[in-house]
C-alpha cells in the first residue's frame, strides 16, 4: 500500500467522513485517494478555495460533531495556523496531516522535517498545543490515523500527523486491523441546533473579560498537563548497551535504524530512540535513558529543532549533538555513521 493511500484508508476506517482541503505537492495524492474513497462510504470530499477556507470548514464540521480532517504541506499548513489556533481555543477535535516539504518560503517539494517547531510549539497565536504524531512506516501511517482521531475526540483537541513526501510515496505492506472498532464518543457540546440537546451550545474561543480569558487558558493548560505524562510514546531500537544514542523521528528514524545496524556490525554500541509522539515529547523515557557516559545525537531533516526537546529531556545528564540535512536531501546512513564514529571516539562538538 502507498503511504498516501494508507493515510486515507486509515482515516476512513477511523470513521472520518469529511475532508476539506486544497491541492499542494506533496500531499495531493492523499486527496486523490479520499476524493474517490469518501463518497463510497457516504462521506464528503470537498476541495476548498484555499487552505484558509479548508481549516475553517474543518472548524464548522467539527463543531457539528463530525470526525473531520484536512491535509496540506508547509506553506499550506502555515496558512492554516490561525484556524488551528481557533480550533485549539474552542476545543474542537480534528486531524491535520502535514506532508512536510522544504522551506522556508516556497522552498521545494522534497522531504523535510523543518516544521517541527511549528507543530510542537503551538504554531499559531496564543498558548496552545497540538497533539503531534510522527509515524515512520506505511503501516504506522495507517495505524496512526486511527489513533489520531481517537486522541482528538478524547481530548477535544486538534491532532497533527507529521510525514513527508517520501513516506507518502513509499509502498510497504500494511496489515489492516479488522478488529478496530470505531468508537466516536458522544459530543453533547456540539452545535447541532437547540432541538437536539439541552440549552444553547456555544463554540467559542473569545473571552472579552481578562479574568474569563485567564480561566479558559488555565483550563486548556490543565488539559495539556493531563495529556503530557499520559500520551508520550516512543520506540527504541537496539538501545541495550548503547553508548551513542541516536534520536530521530519519521523518515530520519528509518535511516537511523540502518545506521545502528551498520554501527553494531562494526562493534560500535549505538542505539536509537524514536519519538512517536512529538507532542507530548517522550521526555520521561529519554530523560531516564540519559546518564552514564552516553552521548546523544539527534538526526533531523532540519537545522536542529527536536534537539531542543532532547536537551530539555536529557537535562544536562549527557552531551547532545545534532546532525541534519536540508532542502530535501536525506541524511545518508554512511555520513551519519561517520559522525557517530567521530563522536564515539571523543570528537565532541564541531
Amino acid at each position: 500500500m502507498k503511504g498516501n493511500d494508507a493515510i486515507g484508508e486509515g482515516a476512513v476506517r477511523a470513521g472520518c467522513r469529511y475532508f476539506f482541503g486544497y491541492p499542494i505537492t506533496p500531499q495531493s495524492e492523499l486527496t486523490h485517494y479520499l476524493a474517490k474513497r469518501l463518497p463510497e462510504v457516504g462521506g464528503l470530499f470537498l476541495q476548498a478555495e484555499s487552505e484558509v477556507a479548508s481549516i475553517n470548514m474543518v472548524y464548522g464540521a467539527s463543531a457539528a460533531g463530525a470526525r473531520v480532517m484536512t491535509s496540506s504541506s508547509g506553506p499550506g499548513i502555515s496558512l492554516m495556523q490561525e484556524g488551528l489556533s481557533y480550533l485549539a481555543g474552542a476545543e474542537l477535535p480534528c486531524v491535520v496531516v502535514n506532508m512536510m516539504r522544504g522551506g522556508p518560503g516556497l522552498g521545494n517539494i522534497a522531504p523535510s522535517q523543518a516544521d517541527y517547531f511549528q507543530a510542537t510549539k503551538g504554531g499559531g497565536h496564543g498558548d496552545y498545543r497540538l497533539i503531534v504524531l510522527a509515524p515512520n512506516s506505511v503501516q504506522e501511517l495507517f495505524d496512526m490515523m486511527l489513533k489520531a482521531f481517537d486522541l482528538a475526540d478524547k481530548y477535544r483537541n486538534p491532532v497533527m500527523v507529521m510525514a513527508d513526501g517520501i513516506m507518502g510515496q513509499m509502498m510497504e505492506p500494511v496489515i489492516i486491523r479488522d478488529e478496530y472498532e470505531v468508537q466516536i464518543p458522544p459530543k453533547p457540546w456540539a452545535a447541532t441546533g437547540m432541538a437536539y440537546h439541552e440549552g444553547k451550545n456555544l463554540i467559542n474561543s473569545c473571552y472579552v473579560i481578562p479574568d474569563e480569558m485567564e480561566i479558559h487558558n488555565l483550563e486548556l493548560q490543565k488539559k495539556y498537563n493531563e495529556i503530557r505524562p499520559r500520551e508520550q510514546v516512543c520506540e527504541d531500537f537496539m538501545l541495550e548497551g548503547a553508548e551513542v544514542v541516536l534520536v530521530a523521528f519519521g523518515t530520519a528514524s528509518r535511516i537511523c535504524m540502518k545506521v545502528v545496524e551498520k554501527a553494531r556490525d562494526k562493534g560500535i554500541p549505538v542505539g536509537l530512540i524514536r519519538p512517536i509522539t512529538l507532542w507530548p515529547f517522550p521526555e520521561k523515557y529519554i530523560g531516564e535513558a540519559a546518564g552514564g557516559d552516553k552521548i546523544f545525537l539527534t538526526v533531523e531533516m532540519n537545522m536542529g529543532q527536536m534537539i531542543e526537546d532532547v536537551k530539555l529531556a536529557v537535562n544536562g545528564k549527557a552531551p547532545v549533538y545534532h546532525y541534519g540535512r536540508l532542502g530535501g536531501i536525506l541524511p545518508d546512513a554512511r555520513d551519519v555513521l561517520t559522525e557517530v564514529e567521530r563522536l564515539y571516539r571523543g570528537g565532541g562538538a564541531r
Binding site: Y18, F20, L44, L46, A48, E49, S50, V52, A53, S54, N56, M57, V58, Y59, G60, A61, S62, A63, A64, G65, A66, V68, E82, G83, Y86, A90, A191, T192, G193, M194, A195, Y196, K200, N201, L202, I203, N204, S205, C206, V208
Partner: protein, 249 residues
C-alpha cells in the same frame, strides 16, 4: 390584555453593547423575529464573526459558533455539509465579509452553498476604531482616510450584491436598508425570504443591510440616518438583485 410586542425568543435578554443609534440591534432583532416566525429556533445554527458583530454569539439564543475574521462562509460550509437539514447563517460586517473574507463568500456562493449570509454594510470599521472599510464611500473621512477616501490611493467601494448576482450558485441576493420603518419592514421580508430559500435547498443567499455607525461617522443618530439615505443608497441601490424561483415564495 394581549401583548403586542416583545423580545423575540431567539434573542437573549441581555443588554447589547452597541453604540446609541447603531442599527446592529435592529438587524439582530429582525433575524431573531424571522427565526421565531419560521419556528426554526431549534434547528438554526449561527456563525458569528469578528468586528462589532463579535458578540452576536452571545445575543442570539440559539446554537452559535465564533468564526474567525472573514471565514464565516467557510465555517458555515463545514457545518452545513455535516448537518444539511439545519438552517445555517453567518452574520458578518463589511470588513469581515467584503475585505478579508472576500474569497470565502464568493466561493460559498459559487458552490451554491445552502447557507444565508447576513451582511452589515456601514461603510466603516467599527470595532477597531473607525478605519476605512472596503465599502467606505469616495470622499468619506475615516481614521485611515483622514482627507476622504481617494480613488487613486484606495480605489473604489466594493458592491457585494452586484458581484454575486451573476454567480450561478447564488439563489437570493438583496440589498436593504435600516434607516426608516418602511425599509426595516422590507429588510425583514428579505431576511425571511433568504431563510426560506435555504430551507427549500435552492442555494446561497445573502442579504446586505445598509446600516449606520454614528460613532465612527462622527454624527448624531439622526444625521447618520440622513447620511445613509442621501449618500449610501445612491451608491448602493436597494432591491432584490436575484431571486431564484421568482415569485414562488
Amino acid at each position: 390584555m394581549k401583548k403586542m410586542f416583545s423580545r423575540p425568543k431567539s434573542l437573549k435578554d441581555i443588554p447589547f453593547h452597541y453604540c446609541p443609534g447603531c442599527t446592529h440591534g435592529i438587524a439582530h432583532r429582525l433575524v431573531a423575529e424571522v427565526i421565531d416566525e419560521l419556528d426554526i429556533r431549534g434547528t438554526t445554527i449561527g456563525v458569528g464573526s469578528v468586528g462589532c458583530s463579535f458578540s452576536t454569539i452571545s445575543y442570539f439564543d440559539i446554537d452559535m459558533l465564533q468564526g474567525s475574521h472573514g471565514r464565516g462562509p467557510a465555517v458555515a460550509t463545514g457545518l452545513k455539509r455535516v448537518l444539511p437539514d439545519r438552517v445555517v447563517f453567518t452574520y458578518q460586517g463589511d470588513g469581515d465579509l467584503a475585505a478579508i473574507g472576500t474569497g470565502e463568500f464568493i466561493h460559498a456562493a459559487t458552490r451554491g452553498e445552502n447557507i444565508t449570509c447576513i451582511y452589515i454594510n456601514n461603510a466603516v470599521y467599527g470595532m477597531t476604531g473607525g478605519q476605512m472599510a472596503p465599502t467606505t464611500l469616495l470622499g468619506q473621512k475615516t481614521k485611515t482616510t483622514p482627507f476622504g477616501r481617494d480613488k487613486d490611493v484606495s480605489g473604489f467601494p466594493i458592491k457585494v450584491c452586484e458581484i454575486l448576482t451573476p454567480l450561478e450558485g447564488a439563489a437570493y441576493v438583496a440589498r436593504v436598508a435600516l434607516h426608516n420603518p418602511k425599509s426595516i419592514i422590507k429588510a425583514k421580508k428579505s431576511i425571511k425570504k433568504a431563510f426560506e430559500i435555504q430551507i427549500k435547498g435552492l442555494g446561497f443567499s445573502l442579504v446586505e443591510l445598509l446600516s449606520t455607525c454614528p460613532t465612527n461617522w462622527g454624527m448624531s443618530p439622526l444625521e447618520a440616518v440622513k447620511w445613509l439615505e442621501e449618500k449610501m443608497i445612491p451608491y448602493y441601490p436597494l432591491g432584490e438583485y436575484k431571486t431564484c424561483g421568482g415569485g414562488d415564495l
